[in-house]
């Protein structure tokens, strides 16, 4: 597990949904990215950093889950590959949804409708097909805001 910190501050978003003290938003968005493929993980990390997000990467779902459990409220969004040995993206998604309130984006090279459908019905806030372009990642902050707004109203 690799943690790359853009800024040292850790701010807890308030329940009113306001983004306290984070004028640079979405810069500094705290992203956890999970993929067992190291080539993909390296590309994602670089893309996310280029978006000025704070990136933590994991190559296993179990590790990602422990990180999330140990560091609750320190992440804004999770991006996870679907196809991973041991725990896959769907299982990780289920755990996250039952234990915490984080938006999860699933990614896969698998574009088959039934798999995408599964992701959506399991509660992924988005399902992206590999290869993912940086333009797509620039917009992921919307899922964070949307979720917070839903929780507030």
């Amino acid at each position: 597990m690799n943690s790359s910190n853009g800024n040292g501050s850790m701010s807890t978003a308030s329940s009113s949904g306001a983004w306290n003290g984070r004028d640079q938003f979405p810069a500094g968005l705290r992203v956890l990215v999970v993929d067992d493929d190291q080539t993909c993980l390296m590309v994602f990390e670089k893309m996310l950093k280029t978006c000025l997000y704070q990136v933590t990467k994991c190559n296993k779902a179990e590790t990602a889950l422990s990180v999330l459990r140990e560091h609750k409220n320190e992440f804004d969004i999770v991006i996870s590959d679907v196809h991973m040995p041991d725990m896959d993206g769907f299982e990780l998604l289920k755990h996250i949804n039952s234990e915490m309130d984080l938006p999860v984006i699933l990614i896969s090279a698998d574009a088959r409708k039934q798999v995408v459908m599964k992701g959506v019905t399991y509660g992924a806030c988005d399902y992206l097909i590999k290869p993912v372009r940086i333009e797509t990642l620039k917009n992921i902050w919307q899922h964070v805001v949307r979720k917070k707004a839903r929780n507030t109203f």
Partner: protein
């Protein structure tokens, strides 16, 4: 002048890699990600890809050659291969992976074996061309 010649060589090699369908848009994404903080990004990603691929090819080879074929496992490996090849923009390799997976889904052993030869071939060609291209890029950047 050496420098101009090298730069022209780089440009024409690059153009041909795209024109001949070896690389697609995703490779441009990688090039655009390369910057002063990561001046060798493209080479690093490509090297990771070679490592991942070597391992996957070996696994697939083993799976095809050991007793009754486990199509699920094969599909798994090829799915991974497709994921990483598409992430670097290796167009022809990715297409061959897709073809292989169709044979897998149809549980067509003969088809899988034939298709895998194609995957390996395309991968070998791409690797060779990319190595030469990136080496030329390096040379060109060194003749300042």
């Amino acid at each position: 002048m050496d420098r101009n010649r090298l730069h022209n060589q780089v440009a024409s090699m690059r153009r041909s890699l795209f024109d001949q369908g070896y690389l697609d848009d995703q490779f441009i994404q990688l090039e655009e990600l390369q910057d002063d903080t990561n001046p060798n990004f493209v080479q690093e990603v490509v090297t990771l890809f070679y490592n991942d691929s070597a391992r996957l090819i070996q696994n697939i080879e083993q799976a095809l050659n050991s007793g009754p074929i486990d199509f699920c496992k094969l599909d798994d490996y090829m799915h991974q291969f497709k994921g990483s090849s598409s992430s670097i923009g290796a167009k022809k390799v990715t297409n061959e992976c897709t073809a292989f997976r169709e044979y897998c889904n149809a549980e067509n052993a003969e088809g899988c074996i034939r298709s895998f030869q194609q995957v390996k071939q395309e991968y070998a060609i791409l690797k060779r061309k990319l190595e030469v291209y990136l080496q030329t890029v390096r040379q060109a950047s060194q003749t300042a």
